[in-house]
Structures are given as structure tokens and as C-alpha cells.
């Protein structure tokens, strides 16, 4: 009998956590982690926050950890494809790694800048991206951030703390309004303005031009914003191109069932930003680009590989945090519906907004500097409680003060 073999493709958060969880579940066969980036796996959230100040990026796995896990690292080489008939992962250097199960954990990449990336224009995903942006920010001057999503908002906040002038541009009317809605997003417009950020919201970018003095951003209304550096943060795309030749169903991520197994082949599992799976509570397929999702999904996938006869369905409550100035921002569940209640005082920097799901039920919660509200909301969403039950619970935890 041959020893079992699991190949994990993607050497970052989702891949590392799946490898660790496999061993914790008692998997004792061969385990290989393939990663395109040559360096040891590191954590991405600091790249838009502390790492732009002090270059400090925590490593997710050391060489010693890998030895202890009996995990073989193949870093600095991309997987080029999956040969399902032969049961092999095919690497870019031609190597073929036979598998019994394969974990697709190849994450996502920034949506390319529609205006190119001339000198001084940055995208932000990798440690090298952060180092390059940090070097530009240290030369101070003026940063224009195109895209007021989470990453754009965080980089604006970090840059202000470094004393850099910032202009934040987005075609939408407010920061993070795709997730929060325009009204609640407006609270964040005020936050950024209070910290000295210039905003151009509801403003489309026509072009980014390269000049000897640096890049400049041209808006659709003709305004020109000169800059020392520009960050383009316009969302992310799943790294699923390498799977196209495999014949697996790929549609904005690797398409999986509720057990995070490919709908086309049960030996193939997906975790993290690249996974599109059937979420049983929502009754639709979803893909989530959040840290905690990768960690929780890794535990489920590891379990399902070790115990395929008793697979667990994956139905998480969405959760993401973001740090902007002195605001610890946390989002629980889905905030796509309408905001129905605000508790606490936005002006005092401690508040929560409850969102409906559209059908009168509870959807999710935005909390600022109020972690206990987050705990209550995660339970309420998981337990399908109604809006009033959560509001009651929040009033109870809120009354005990900060």
C-alpha cells in the first residue's frame, strides 16, 4: 500500500493553516506545501497597516515549524496545472507531485490598474509591494489613493500617521460603501476628513499619467491631482487561472460544494480567497476574501480530508476587521441589506450599526471600537436570531460601559 499524499498549493495563510490543521486532525501521510513566493509564508493584513511604518511582517510558519509538522516546503515555484487523470500537481519547473488529495489555496491578486503602473504607482498584495510603497511614503510628499475600499482606507490612515498628505478618490459616494452602503460609509468620509485626508468621492479616474515630477491622477471632470505616489486599490481577483486546463469547474474561484470539495472532482479541495463554495445558510455560492475565513475554512477542509465519510459543511458567519486611525472596525455577517439601527455615538468613536438581510431578518453588524458587540452579533447571526433580539443583547452589553 502506498503512503497517502496531500499536496497543498498556495503557501500563505490558507495553505499553512490547512497543513497545520491536517496534522492536528491526525493526518500522518506525506504533506507538501507548494508556494510561488520564495520567502517563508507571512501574514498580509499588516501590509496596509503597521508594515508601512516599521516593515514588521509576522511569519506564519518557520522552517522549524515545518520540520515539526513533517511538512515539505516547495517555495519559489508555482503550480502550473493539475493533471487529474494522472493524479498529479504539475509544477512550473516540470516536476510532478502525485496526490491523493490536493488543496487549492492560491488566494487572490489585486485587480490590475486600468491605467497601468508607471513609476510611483503601486498595487498592494505582497511584502515586496509593501516595501516599495513604504519607500515612497518615506519620501513623504503626496499620496493619491484610488479606490476607497478597505485597503485604500487603511493605507490612507497609515500614510496620514506618517505625515504624508493624502487624497482619497473613488467613483462611489463614500469609503467602503460597496459593503456598508452610502449613509454609513459617510461616517467614514468624516473620519478621514477629520484626519486631514482630502477626498474626491463620486469622482471617476480618467487616467494616471507619468511625468518627470511623478505620477498624476486625472479625474473625469478634468481635475488633475499631482502626486509623489499613487496606490490603486480596486479589488481583487482569484488566482484560478492555473486550474483552467484541468477541466475543473472554475467561475470566479474554484467552484465547490458545501464541503469545500470541487464540484468536478472530490479529491480537490479549496480554501481561502480562491474558494467559491456553496454556503448552506445563505443558499448560494460565495467567495470571501477575509483572513478569518481562510483560517476557519482550513479547519473544515482538513477535517474533510481526514474524515471523508463524515464531512462537515462550511457555513461561517462572515467576519472582517480593519484598523483605521484609532478606530477598530469590525464587520460581522452580511451588511449588504439596509442599515436598520444605530447604537452608540459615531461622533464618540464607539458605535454599532445593525443591518437587515432584506427579508426582515438580521443580516449583519458593523461595530467600531466595540468588540463585545461583535461577539453578540456573531452568535445572533449564526443562531438566525431576529433583529430585535440582537438590539436587546447589544443594549445589555453596551450599558456596562466601555
Amino acid at each position: 500500500m502506498h503512503a497517502r499524499s496531500v499536496i497543498v498549493v498556495g503557501g500563505s495563510l490558507a495553505g499553512v493553516r490547512t497543513s497545520q490543521a491536517l496534522r492536528a486532525e491526525g493526518y500522518d501521510g506525506r504533506l507538501v506545501l507548494v508556494g510561488e513566493e520564495p520567502e517563508l509564508p507571512y501574514d498580509r493584513p499588516p501590509l496596509s497597516k503597521g508594515a508601512l511604518r516599521d516593515d514588521d511582517v509576522p511569519v506564519l510558519l518557520t522552517e522549524a515549524d515545518a520540520v515539526q509538522l513533517d511538512l515539505t516546503l516547495r517555495l519559489g515555484v508555482a503550480a502550473a496545472g493539475l493533471d487529474l487523470a494522472d493524479g498529479c500537481v504539475v509544477l512550473a519547473d516540470g516536476d510532478r507531485l502525485p496526490f491523493d488529495d490536493v488543496v487549492v489555496a492560491t488566494g487572490s491578486r489585486p485587480r490590475p490598474s486600468p491605467w497601468g503602473t508607471p513609476p510611483g504607482v503601486h498595487l498592494l498584495r505582497t511584502r515586496a509591494d509593501a516595501t516599495a510603497l513604504r519607500a515612497d511614503l518615506r519620501r513623504s510628499g503626496h499620496l493619491v489613493v484610488v479606490g476607497a475600499g478597505f485597503i485604500g482606507a487603511e493605507v490612507s490612515a497609515t500614510a496620514r500617521a506618517l505625515g504624508v498628505e493624502v487624497t482619497l478618490v473613488d467613483p462611489l459616494p463614500a469609503p467602503m460603501s460597496r459593503v456598508l452602503g452610502a449613509d454609513v460609509g459617510g461616517i467614514f468620509t468624516e473620519l478621514h476628513r477629520r484626519h486631514g485626508v482630502e477626498t474626491r468621492l463620486g469622482a471617476a479616474v480618467a487616467d494616471i499619467e507619468s511625468t518627470p515630477a511623478g505620477p498624476r491622477v486625472v479625474l473625469a471632470d478634468g481635475e488633475v491631482l499631482p502626486a509623489t505616489s499613487v496606490l490603486v486599490g480596486c479589488g481583487a481577483l482569484p488566482n484560478d487561472d492555473w486550474l483552467r486546463s484541468s477541466g475543473l469547474e472554475v467561475a470566479d474561484g474554484l467552484v465547490c460544494d458545501q464541503h469545500c470539495r470541487s464540484t468536478s472532482d472530490e479529491r480537490v479541495h479549496a480554501v481561502g480567497d480562491v474558494a467559491r463554495w456553496w454556503h448552506p445558510r445563505h443558499g448560494e455560492s460565495v467567495r470571501i476574501e477575509h483572513w478569518t475565513n481562510a483560517v476557519e475554512q482550513a479547519a473544515v477542509v482538513a477535517h474533510n480530508i481526514v474524515s471523508p465519510d463524515r464531512p462537515r459543511a462550511y457555513a461561517p458567519v462572515e467576519y472582517v476587521w480593519s484598523d483605521q486611525y484609532d478606530w477598530k472596525v469590525q464587520l460581522v455577517g452580511r451588511t449588504l441589506g439596509a442599515p436598520v439601527r444605530t447604537l452608540g455615538e459615531p461622533a464618540e468613536g464607539r458605535f454599532a450599526v445593525v443591518y437587515g438581510a432584506g427579508d426582515g431578518r438580521l443580516g449583519g453588524l458593523l461595530a467600531v471600537n466595540w468588540p463585545r458587540a461583535v461577539v453578540a452579533a456573531r452568535r445572533a447571526v449564526a443562531g438566525r436570531e431576529d433583529i430585535e433580539a440582537l438590539v436587546g443583547a447589544l443594549q445589555a452589553v453596551g450599558s456596562r460601559g466601555r
Binding site: A24, D43, P45, A299, Q330, V375, R378, R379
Partner: protein, 63 residues
């Protein structure tokens, strides 16, 4: 027994741990983790270790 340690200096109050294992971790009003049970029996180790791994800032360890 598995012993649980929290580094309160590192904790950022993300509350992941309290959601994964609400009988072991809680969050106080300042948003800092509270370890409700500092020791758990061996059979519970795997579950508590899994909860500790959900901490984004590596503030939790299980010995």
C-alpha cells in the same frame, strides 16, 4: 491538562477566540481577552488549540 496562556499585551480584541470557544475565552469591556478556564482536560485540547489558531495576532498559546 492543557494550559492556556494569553499575551494581553498582544491581544487586539478581535474576539475570534471568544467565538470559537466561548466557554474558554471572553472579551472584557475594553476589548481584551479574558481566559475563563486556564486549564482544560486533554480531550478538549484539540478544540482549544483550534480556537487559539484563529487569533490573528498570535496572542494565545496552549501548552
Amino acid at each position: 491538562m492543557a494550559r492556556i496562556r494569553a499575551n494581553l499585551g498582544l491581544c487586539q480584541g478581535y474576539a475570534n477566540c471568544a467565538i470559537e470557544a466561548e466557554d474558554v475565552f471572553d472579551i472584557d469591556d475594553d476589548g481584551t481577552v479574558v481566559v475563563l478556564r486556564s486549564e482544560v482536560p486533554e480531550p478538549e485540547r484539540a478544540r482549544v488549540e483550534a480556537a487559539a489558531r484563529t487569533c490573528p495576532v498570535h496572542a494565545l498559546s496552549v501548552e
